[in-house]
């Protein structure tokens, strides 16, 4: 189903692209420069850039597992294929060492590299276009003063005809709304600061806003919930199903520490976001929380959880595997978030995050990233996973039952390779 959707989208893109070429496809190359010295940048500007780079968690997509920071090679899995983060260290051959400030600003605002090639929107220039000229200058100063690393990112793995970059001109014509952020004078300075950061460098909507067939954000459904790397990115607007509505304080706590005790603990693709935010000052975090909280809309009471049928086998699994930590009286009773009746993930419209967490385990979201909950990939069969997931939904949430849990379990197991040694045996179940 996914394939047909995408193919349909490609067709459309091709048509639009053909129209767009003439006007847009061709972009000029900007002259290479000699990599500037550190002394070319005032230290405050570098520091400002560092803060922005943390807000944008640039290092995440531009660093391979075990690789040097910003040297590229991170595989970003998209529905269209795998795109590799590029080397953004100032190495002149493989990085951005020869990019002028103008070339850098153009890439952020228009999604075009120094040589004039269109960039894939996996690089969220549809957000970065909102960044102010000043902040781009700061980011540039920061990146150009990193340790240069010679490293060639692997070629993207995209199906025909997506490797053909001029097509992206069409995409931009349709979906890229260029231009820096503009303050809303009716709102507070804090709100505006939060909006500027969240819409721009922090690119929250890249994951939390649903995307259309062509991979563009559905801007009229802003923050209605999207996805990222096999995880569901929960809604940050009135569509949120969190049992305890999020507010400014809980969002702040979550963004600051990775935990809001009544809601969630950052895991999956959100965990590195939190780790990066740890060096961002409180007021910026607070501002983003203010902005997002404002968009969460009215508090709606969560429906009460239904009764679990007696003799449920998954209840036994829960009692032996989960209750130690998740029932009151347990060792983590003062940590968070263990009360599953309040967990945002269990009330979400799809079960992926619950399955991901149970299968792969959960790490602490702080810089030390220590294992908090073990993965059950080897412990439970697919059938047991599905039953346990359904049980958690019924017992802890009044939301309607999830559909196709088994399909999600099987997909996540194969995508994450969470089966290890005896994969086949476990994956197939009894």
């Amino acid at each position: 189903m996914r394939t047909t959707r995408i193919l349909g989208g490609l067709l459309l893109l091709a048509v639009v692209g053909a129209g767009g070429f003439a006007a847009l496809a061709w972009r000029s190359e900007l002259d290479p420069i000699k990599p500037p010295e550190r002394s070319a940048f005032p230290p405050e500007r570098i520091a400002q850039g560092a803060k922005l780079a943390s807000l944008g968690y640039c290092a995440q997509c531009h660093t391979a597992a075990g690789g040097k920071p910003f040297a590229g090679g991170y595989p970003l899995k998209t529905p269209f294929g795998t795109i590799y983060g590029t080397n953004i260290t100032p190495d002149p051959e493989t990085g951005i060492g020869t990019w002028s400030e103008e070339a850098f600003a153009r890439s952020m605002g228009e999604g075009v590299d120094r040589e004039g090639h269109h960039l894939y929107p996996g690089f969220p220039y549809d957000h970065f276009t909102r960044i102010s000229a000043d902040d781009n200058r700061a980011l540039y100063a920061y990146l150009m003063t990193r340790e240069p690393v010679r490293a060639e990112a692997p070629a993207n793995e995209l199906p025909w005809p997506l490797q053909f970059r001029p097509l992206l001109a069409g995409w931009k014509l349709l979906f890229l709304d260029q231009g820096a952020f503009k303050d809303d004078p009716a709102r507070s300075a804090e709100w505006n600061r939060g909006a500027y950061l969240a819409e721009g460098v922090a690119h929250c909507g890249a994951c939390h806003t649903p995307r259309n067939l062509l991979g563009a954000r559905e801007t009229d459904r802003k923050f209605a919930g999207g996805e990222s790397e096999g995880w569901h990115a929960p809604a940050l607007n009135e569509a949120s199903t969190a049992p305890v509505p999020w507010d400014q304080d809980s969002l702040y706590a979550y963004l600051r520490k990775g935990v809001s005790e009544d809601h969630a603990l950052a895991a999956g693709p959100m965990a590195p976001v939190i780790r990066n935010l740890s060096s961002v000052p409180d007021e910026d975090i607070r501002a983003m929380a203010t902005y997002i909280a404002d968009g969460m809309g009215e508090r709606r009471p969560a429906p009460p959880a239904g009764a679990v049928p007696a003799g449920n086998g998954a209840a036994t699994v829960y009692a032996g595997a989960c209750a130690t930590c998740h029932e009151p009286g347990g060792p983590l009773q003062f940590a968070a978030p263990v009360d599953l009746a309040k967990a945002t993930s269990i009330a979400q419209p799809d079960p992926r995050n619950v399955i991901q967490a149970i299968m792969g385990g959960v790490m602490t979201p702080d810089a030390a990233a220590a294992p908090l909950m073990p993965g059950f990939a080897h412990i439970l069969t697919d059938k047991q996973f599905a039953e346990l997931t359904a049980y958690l939904r019924t017992r802890f949430s009044g939301q309607p039952a999830w559909t196709d849990i088994e399909g999600h379990v099987a997909r996540i197991r194969s995508e994450t390779g969470s089966a290890g040694g005896s994969s086949t045996r476990i994956a197939k179940g009894e």
Binding site: G320, T324, I379, T381, S422, R425, I426
Partner: protein
């Protein structure tokens, strides 16, 4: 009654089906190797093999284990006839207090059955779930490398890779 296959033998266990395997192994089957360390799945002291994969038995209720092959360190060999992993740990003197060691041997066994000549990076990765407080890590690394060598020699295999006990 739940039937558990441990080290190739079936045991009828009369315990609450929610009971984590660790307590059944220790209290009902009177086996010592799997240890209580945290009960939270964070330290690996309680590890056993289930269908060849290392699992933390402290959070594995026995209800999910019917029909699956469980192996413990007791199943890898004996004092008089140690399996390759056990022999390697003895020869490297890879223990201080030794409390964590059975869990490490399980992680090692699972790794070596899957990847007979692992790189150091693969060994480290496989041993990540296990904690040792005495700082025996360097000897544990050596022991796993040595065990890999033993397992490649024809006579040293203690167990077949499908989880059957050789005894």
């Amino acid at each position: 009654m739940i039937t558990l296959s441990v080290n190739g033998r079936d045991h009828q266990v009369d315990a609450d089906p929610a009971t984590p395997l660790l307590y059944v192994l220790r209290d009902d089957l009177e086996m010592n190797a799997a240890k209580f360390g945290c009960g939270l799945g964070q330290c690996g002291s309680c590890m056993v093999l289930v269908d060849g994969a290392p699992v933390v038995s402290c959070v594995t209720p026995i209800v999910v284990l019917e029909g699956r092959a469980i192996r413990t360190v007791e199943g890898l060999g004996t004092v008089d006839d140690p399996g390759p992993v056990q022999r390697a740990f003895m020869e490297e003197q890879a223990a201080q207090c030794g409390y964590c060691i059975p869990g490490f041997m399980i992680s090692a066994q699972a790794l070596l059955e899957r990847t007979p000549s692992p790189s150091d990076a693969e060994i480290r990765d496989a041993l990540k779930p296990n904690l040792c407080r005495c700082g025996t890590h360097m000897r544990i690394m050596k022991a796993v490398r040595r065990a890999a060598g033993f397992m490649q020699t024809a006579d040293a295999g203690a167990t077949t890779s499908n989880g059957e006990d050789r005894r």
